[in-house]
Symmetry: C2
Subunit: 624 residues, 2 copies
């Protein structure tokens, strides 16, 4: 099966990804975590996504050349949005083409420029020495040069000695107009910040130079809170049932963040106290636990969060490794299950700046959905359930080594296994692939039933029929035989697994339907579906659409936007305007509680039925 | 000698004072620490200073009746400003006549009303319980009722549990728009604050009910920092020369304040955590040490303070006993030696609200002088030296038991001793009395020389001549003979003592002269001299004027205003407008460094010569 896919390697990051032939480079890059600029929406008109093919074909297709000059084409430059992958390739990504790693200026999807202006900044100062003629107070002297800054009692205690031992000059580290530190000498450029995606399973931190905006390191850790439960609800229960439960969970998160910070400062060879700011984006439970705010009310009806606006805490108060004066920014939250990670995601997606309806979808245990229709933003979360993460699936597993991550069913079955080992189970993406292709093969019907051989319509390939095993009323489909599988047991798609997927996908679809109805937008009119998050990065769009998880729109309107929460955290870290933008988006977004919608139950019931056809089915049938 | 004075007792405080016959009641009250209202400046026209004489004479003098009704006069009411003391009396002070102890409304000297509106206030709240239809965040719910308040992470940690265990209602304690505490039940009225006069020798704290403005207790302690030196300079030296000197001095002050707070809460029978605010007024060194701001630069040229604007600290940060969220307000400072106590004093004196030139004088080791000429305010300090506190005087002592505190020299000498014991030395007020009367008796000449018997002019009573002892070039004057004195030695006024007084008084007089010249005001034009501070309360005005400490103006224009710093601290504690007023006065006041004034040395030299005569001398001679 791996032979069916083509390897693409991106430089300078060295990240590789396997894609099916015909996948455009833009999306291959997205799956590799390399987010390219696409102000024009991938139409081949802006030229911002250009990359260089290290072994370029002599004759490029006209579309993939687009706005490039003949010289650039000669040098191997192509537009990633219009270049299909047809052979293994190594692609060089020029810094100006990426969304993430630009120096000084970030350009967002809508083409507006984002200046780097972090809340934390440094200013060099030199004060006139006091004299009998000018005996003004130390603070007055400093404020004359730096403006009307606030100085805490803690720093007032350092100020007189600092000024006198450093000849009345030095660096002031300011956060907004608060003095956070005094440093001797000229330390311009030695300021760093950390942007953290605080996931319930994985915590990822990135270190940024606050002057250049340059990324200086990445580190991730498994969230040690998994010891208290895999999902947020079990962690909330732990807090409710144990007197020191909150402290235990908070400490676990703080330790994890400190491990990440230590890895980052080691990578960049800087001191811990050069980290002046930490920006955190996580779901409401993760964020509240980290702040030390009791999350109990998030765990029972009516699901109430402690705050909505961003929280600013002192790193020292939380026990986080950083400069003693460093601030911790925790993202604003829209609702109990539409947390700071979603806000960070829609910041990165510039969700209010599209002229046509756009759907932002982040699928995990919960599916967070934000629908933007011009200025109007609606957000909701659906209890997608753990099926997408491989849980509650009979032979399900997380997307780690040994997991079947991809399934392709035509005349026979091909699977792709993570880590090039014998398969031990299947993960969420493979579940979607299998069900989608079995729907196409008429082996699963609209109700989700896996048909026994005797009920199959005509024309189902024999190799597939041979994989059906019926016991009593239930039929299962063998994805990997006993011989192929790592253990003693064949790996199958079970009837119950299909039911779990129906529940999960149905919840998301019903949520999308209700949101669309609220703003009066037809699914057809959706300009883009932006798939955020790790899971979103790996699902096959046509398959997600086939099972009804995503609306029936052309795949080229469904885009992977990578780890949008992490990108949003970075933006807020680097620019105070982005911080204001995050506040604005939080304020602007209306939270919809699906359980209160009178139509939700009916919509959910209907969504449990798989779509009877898919807009690409014709092509597919034709191809087949 | 005590027989010469008349005892006046004020009710309900029970405070007594001895005054010379003819002293008006207003001033007797001032010396007893009972500050009466005098919006009209003591002209007998406003009627605000009315008091009731318990044994009123049948026929009052017309002036002392003023604006009173015949019924009031019948009941014994008189105007304190126009009633001379001619016999021992008990005086009842109606609450509405005092400056300090009014309920709800304070009325200041200029007649404006001061509403009680402390920065710290409580608000009762009751929130709608969350429901599926209204699942807004806890903080959003609270802010809807209390307005856009700031809530620290610390309180956010309490909020969810507080709301749920108290049925969504309780009391919010707010400082300005910051939430400082949450309390269950209705605790309206249970809020207290402490106003502290942080003197280098004595620390006085008063407890106030922040709702009614009522004074609920007074406590004082010797400042334990005296162990590190009597004056501020020696304490600054201790900080400079010992690594942990600042910590030691700060801890001593904090311990002292905690002792006072504990006394106060015991007096009022309240809990420590009901104290929500502490306001402190002290000189710049005392204030900086308490804040933990290195005062070293206050101890050497060019004498630089750390701050000018008021400092707000957390009581918990300083280790002060109070509600964990209580704030500590430290007064703004005008200059290195014109500190928060002076600002508090001029707040109490409403110094910018007089229509004619007014001089505010606080005499201690330093003499702080503030001259107001309409809106224009000038402040300075003079190194008055320790003479007024009895130090550097050969037989000097503090104003404690055994100290001669008053001297009257006519045909012979009469002295008043504190504590009704045999005299052991003399304190600052007696020094001034003795020198003034010896100048009047022509025993001391203008240059300050104590004349030997053979140089005396004619007419000096023999009893006085007999008290002069000449040894070599120097003559001394016996105030109490060996028989009268507590020890083996007679108590004398020595030539060196007169020189010390000349230095001290000369510095203050030169300061006043230069200030007057700066604004172009003649001494004659001074409408009021306001004497603040403990020492100011006890000096005889005519004597202070005779030695040149105060300008040559009529004694009825020289007023004692009591502990103005303490009153100013109280005002700021009780009203946020007073806090703004303090900031305004600090901003408005120009600091004059006398040492930079080219005329100061000459002026100081001239001021060392005693005035050749006093405007009352004629009367005096006549009387004599």
């Amino acid at each position: 099966m791996q032979g069916h896919e083509i390897k693409v390697t991106f430089q300078p990051s060295g990240r590789s990804v396997y894609v099916l032939p015909g996948t455009v480079l833009l999306e291959a890059a997205g799956r590799a975590g390399v987010i390219l600029q696409t102000p024009c929406g991938g139409k081949g008109t802006c030229g911002k996504c250009r990359v260089r093919l290290m072994d370029a074909p002599l004759k490029p297709s006209p579309a993939s050349v687009g706005t490039l000059s003949p010289e650039q084409v000669e040098q191997g430059y192509r537009l990633a949005c219009c270049t299909p992958v047809d052979a293994p390739m190594v692609v060089e990504v020029p810094p100006e083409s990426t969304f993430e790693s630009q120096q000084q200026i970030l350009t967002d999807d809508s083409g507006t420029e984002v200046e780097i202006s972090p809340l934390v900044h440094k200013r060099c100062f030199e004060l006139p020495e006091p004299s009998c003629e000018d005996p003004r107070a130390d603070l007055v002297r400093l404020q004359e040069v730096l403006g009307d800054i606030d100085v805490s009692p803690e720093l007032m205690r350092q100020l007189p000695a600092f000024l006198r031992t450093n000849e009345w000059k030095g660096m002031a580290v300011l956060s907004n107009n608060h003095l956070v530190a005094l440093e001797p000498g000229d330390t311009t450029g030695d300021g760093y910040g950390v942007a953290v995606d605080l996931g319930s399973t994985t915590v990822v931190g990135k270190l940024f130079d606050l002057v250049s905006g340059r990324e200086c390191g990445v580190a991730s850790e498994i969230n040690p809170q998994v010891a208290f439960g895999d999902d947020v609800i079990s962690r909330i229960m732990h807090v409710r049932e144990n007197e020191d439960g909150l402290t235990a969970l908070q400490s676990a998160a703080v330790e994890c963040l400190n491990t990440i910070v230590q890895k980052l400062v080691a990578q960049a060879d800087i001191r811990t106290d050069e980290v002046y700011e930490i920006v955190l984006a996580g779901n409401s439970t993760m964020q509240q636990i980290l702040c030390g705010y009791d999350p109990s009310a998030l765990g029972e009806v009516p699901f109430v969060q402690a705050f909505e606006e961003a929280q600013i805490l002192a790193a020292s108060d939380l026990g986080l490794d950083a400069n003693p004066a460093a601030e911790v920014y925790v993202f604003p939250q829209i609702g109990s299950f539409v947390g700071g990670d979603t806000v960070a995601g829609i910041v990165a997606a510039r969700l209010d700046r599209w002229n046509e309806p756009v759907l932002f979808v982040d699928i995990g245990t919960n599916g967070e959905i934000v629908l933007a229709n011009g200025d109007q933003l609606l957000a909701t979360s659906t209890a997608a359930g753990p099926a997408f993460e491989g849980a509650r699936i009979r032979q399900g597993m997380r997307a780690t080594a040994g997991a079947i991550e991809k399934v392709l069913i035509r005349d026979n079955v091909a699977v792709n296994v993570i880590g090039d080992v014998a398969p031990a189970g299947l993960c969420g993406t493979a579940l979607i692939d299998a069900v989608a292709d079995l729907l196409r093969a008429d082996i699963i019907d609209e109700t989700g039933r896996i048909l026994p051989v005797e009920e199959l319509p005509e024309g189902v390939p024999e190799a597939l029929q041979a994989r059906l095993i019926t016991e009593g009323n239930e039929t299962r489909f063998v994805l990997a035989s006993t011989d192929e599988a790592a253990g003693d047991e064949a790996i199958c798609l079970w009837q119950k697994d299909v039911r779990e997927l129906q529940l999960a996908a149905g919840a998301v679809r019903a949520g999308i339907q209700i949101m669309l109805r609220r703003v009066g937008v037809e699914p057809d009119a959706i300009h883009r579906v932006l798939l955020a998050g790790a899971f979103g990065n790996f699902i096959r769009r046509s398959n997600a659409r086939r099972i009804g998880l995503l609306p029936q729109i052309s795949c080229d309107r469904i885009r992977f936007i990578g780890n949008a929460a992490s990108l949003g955290a970075k933006l807020v870290l680097l620019s105070d305007r982005e911080r204001a933008y995050a506040a604005q988006l939080q304020e602007q977004t209306e939270h919809i509680d699906l359980s209160l919608d009178p139509e939700f139950q009916m919509e959910f019931g209907m969504a449990m039925i798989f779509p009877s056809s898919d807009i690409d089915d014709l092509k597919f049938c034709h191809k087949r």
